[in-house]
């Protein structure tokens, strides 16, 4: 009995230790200090914003808005990815969808769920590339993630490109995510090119057949750059809407502008940047304090592509990276309890209030989520569900086996068969059974 109690006590202590170790409760002083700093920064930034006349009120009229809003045709774009094949350069199934809606059209023509671009199979070209040869599993994993990200980004942009290329006449077009992503992470020498067939399919304006291909022409950075340049031809406004942001691009640019205008001292500017980094102050958490419901920050023209020096000096992509067009970034608070959403556009808006009013009204349809309802719709539509992914995977595995059989190489065939069987997973662990007496 004594032993058991001791055992329990030990367990209890283990549990208490675990709880103590797991819950890192910041002290009240730290919390208070963070709040004090945040509020002080917010106060200061708000003054700057007011001085620059950046804060604007966006009218929200609910029913009355939709009486005119129903006449607009809008397009909402998002991408979906499925990838779980080990031997593929991933992602192997990807698509981007468009939800195109004009409320006043008859029901049969009111809304379209268009699978604008879809692709299944290897996206990246193995020729002339250091291809999946990394010995470092961490780096390998990083590369895999980068490839997935690059593929998703390019497919989403390609969807916008297709709408511009097809000379669509939307009143608005929205992308679920940023309109421009920093491309520096993809500039390493190990990052492969896309397959020619992929690029031809998704970016119709890039005509490879008529000209000789340059080195790295099918690299992500190049085709992304080309695509963004092409989007500048758009006849309709295109916005990228970002739901959550850890970026502080607006704040930094705002301070820099003020510093350049001589409204902020250099010393203060540098110290403020340093404070912001130490306290992890970003656009989202700071503008939550500054903006009220239905308030927005006028967009600032910012440069998202800043090449950084790597170990071996600047990347070979430096010139192109610095050539990316600047982007207009603003914020819009769509309800009282969520951080504002980031609104990006490639060009300066012709009628900012009208555009923001539309984004606000679309977001007000989801009062708790506070994000444009059309993007929520297309987000759900674009996702590749597990069942579809699994079906695609089986199809792909079979294709892989066919290739292996064609090669008549027993090792290839064995590898393909293993792929069909599935790898080592926890589900295959042997189960312990009790012997029935």
């Amino acid at each position: 009995m004594q032993n058991i109690n001791l055992k329990n006590k030990k367990k209890s202590s283990l549990f208490a230790n675990f709880v103590n170790n797991v819950i890192h409760k910041p002290s009240p002083e730290v919390q208070k200090n963070f709040m004090d700093v945040s509020l002080k920064i917010a106060g200061t930034i708000k003054k700057i914003c007011e001085d620059e006349k950046l804060i604007i009120n966006i009218p929200y009229q609910g029913k009355n808005f939709w009486n005119k809003g129903k006449n607009y045709e809008s397009c909402f774009v998002d991408g979906g990815v499925f990838s779980s094949v080990e031997s593929s350069s991933a992602p192997f199934a990807i698509r981007s969808k468009s939800y195109i809606v004009k409320p006043t059209n008859p029901l049969t023509d009111r809304e379209k769920f268009e699978e604008t671009i879809a692709y299944m199979g290897d996206l990246y070209d193995s020729k002339n590339n250091i291809y999946d040869l990394s010995e470092d599993p961490y780096e390998d994993n990083q590369l895999l993630n980068k490839k997935k990200d690059a593929a998703r980004i390019i497919f989403e942009i390609a969807c916008l490109v297709k709408h511009v290329f097809d000379k669509q006449k939307f009143d608005f077009c929205f992308l679920h995510g940023p309109l421009q992503t920093p491309v520096m992470p993809f500039s390493g020498p190990e990052f492969p090119q896309f397959k020619k067939q992929v690029v031809k399919n998704i970016l119709p304006f890039l005509n490879f057949d008529k000209k000789e291909e340059k080195i790295n022409e099918r690299h992500f950075i190049n085709i992304y750059f080309q695509s963004i340049q092409f989007l500048l031809n758009s006849k309709f406004p295109i916005y990228g809407i970002v739901e959550r942001t850890n970026s502080s691009v607006y704040l930094k640019n705002l301070l820099f502008r003020s510093f350049k205008k001589g409204k902020v001292a250099e010393n203060d500017y540098n110290k403020m940047l340093s404070t912001m980094i130490r306290y992890k102050i970003n656009d989202g958490n700071l503008f939550s304090l500054i903006l009220s419901d239905c308030q927005a920050l006028r967009p600032l023209e910012v440069d998202k592509q800043i090449p950084t020096r790597g170990l071996g000096g600047f990347s070979e992509w430096e010139t192109q990276i610095t050539s990316f067009p600047k982007i207009h970034v603003g914020y819009l608070k769509t309800n009282s309890h969520q951080a504002p959403i980031r609104v990006e556009s490639l060009k300066k808006s012709k009628d900012l209030i009208k555009d923001y009013e539309y984004i606000l009204a679309s977001s007000k349809l989801l009062p708790n989520y506070g994000f444009p309802a059309g993007l929520d719709v297309v987000d759900k539509a674009a996702k590749i569900p597990a069942w579809l992914g699994r079906a695609a995977k089986s199809y792909y595995s079979k294709y892989y086996l066919d290739l292996a059989i064609e090669s008549k190489n027993s090792k290839n065939i064995s590898s393909a068969l293993k792929m069909l069987q599935g790898g080592r997973v926890w589900r295959n662990r042997p189960k312990a059974g009790k012997v029935k007496k």
């Binding site: 029913k63 939709w66 809304e111 769920f113 349809l365 719709v377």
Partner: protein, 592 residues
Amino acid sequence: MRKIINLNTNLKNSIGGNSIRKISDPWASIGTILGQTSIDDYSFHLKKFKAKKGDIVAAEAKQPTGDGRVVEVIVWGRIMEIISSNEFLPNEAAKELTEGNISIQDTILPLTKNDAICTVKNLGYTTNDPGQKLSLMPLNYPVYPGGAVKYPASKDLESLLNTDMKGKNPIFIGNLVARRDVDVQVSADNMVSRHVLVIGMTGSGKSVWVRRAVRELMVKQYPILIIDPHGDNLGIVQKATKLFPNHKIKLFYPKISASENNKEVIYTLIERLGNKLTEPQYDFLNWVLTKTDYEPGTSLIQYISILIQKSNAAAENKRNKSTKSSDGPGNTGASTMGVVSRSLRKVYSKLKEMEQSNISNRNKYPHLKFEELPDPYSQPEKIIQKSQVSILYLKGYESLPSSTIVSILLESLFNHRSAGNRTIPPFFTVLEEAQNFIPSKSEGQDGYPSVSTIKKIATEGRKFGTGLMLVSQRPYRLDETVCAQMNSYIILRLKNERDQRFVKNTMENWDNEEAKQLPNFANGQGIVSGQITNLPLTVQIKFDDDLTNDDIGDENFISDVQNWKESSENKKKRELSKDFDEVFDVDKRKPH
């Protein structure tokens, strides 16, 4: 397998090759079967608005046969549930639309992404060969996921529902609720030879069904006896006389009398209607009953008045110290005899009161001709005859006397039929308010004489052509044994949970999805099931408005009150009452 192909090829050739289509060929495809199916049911994704709850749908499938072949079949099923969902419409959006009074039509929210998933209960399968009769057989292999679900053409559906009806005297009862263009027939043969239970709450359409069935049987000249405690069927009398000029529509009021064989029923009634008696009192009552001969066919009221006289005389003799041995058993005292006499007087006055009430009710319909019910023992042919509808109007009578009357009547008629002496033809009895005649044991109404009679008819009636139709609004109050003998069911709207439970317990193959429909049926809508039909159907029963009578039916109390004139006696009474009150007010000696 080869043999089948040859047969089909031969058949096709013989009837014009490929020009003869398979029955399912032209049907519209309305959905696709989802991932998991079973022998009993399956789910499918429905094309928008292409079918509705209650619809009968068909799926092409294959069934293994007993000899190892696989044959193409059509699996028929009924849509039990449709669930519609829009995964693109978050609840919070709906809230905003409501509170902002915004029409979803005006917004960017999607309207076209509603998915409808149907659950189908399998009914059975038929072969899918050209020219084959649609005869439903039990399924032995589930339909395959991914298969198409089709919407059968009305005429094909009709031929499925009404297959084999031709030899069974089909009668038209209405249309499928879900398919108004599909006529539904039931077998009159099975209706009159087996038994039918009709249940539904007030206003659910029981009378609609009764009128329909009676009308169709009248067309077939079938004798009908309607036991009508509330006069629900009086409407038939006037209209049917015009519609069926060659028919006799008889309206009877009861006369409580019994045959020699049924004397015990009379004794039971006297015992049960009177006061509760002690052992000696009971002995005396028995003595009086034994000593007073009941002349079969005479009125019970007359008989009771004789009993009263007899017991009064016996008591009188006892008081006068007369020691006649015929004045009661043993040492029965005068007071005991007096108690029995009082009890008999009570029975007498109760019966008189009920008789009077029946007369008053009859007097409300001066245009209807009521006749005294002929003695069913000696004159059954006056009640049951080809092309005759006899309605026994029982309004005013309490349930026990009603039960006695019905017991005596049905017992006699049944005996005539079972004796095989061809005195009366086969007939069909409609028993309205059946819970009054066959109360469940749990109702504490043991010993109702009609229970055993109806039980006997329900069990043996099939052999002698004495079919029953029990009509009730309170099925859970019905005797379970009798209900178990019912072969067909008409189940109309039922809201009471106990009634719904009763249906579930009584009917085979009844499931919860069907029970869910019961509270939602409209007037005249219900499930027709059992031997009168090929498969259970949800039917809108045809409303025979030409058999309803405007002046009989729901009373208009509001208009009664508006036209109410106080009687002069009542006026006087009120005036005097005021005067009396003044007297009482000044009375200082009234006790406190």
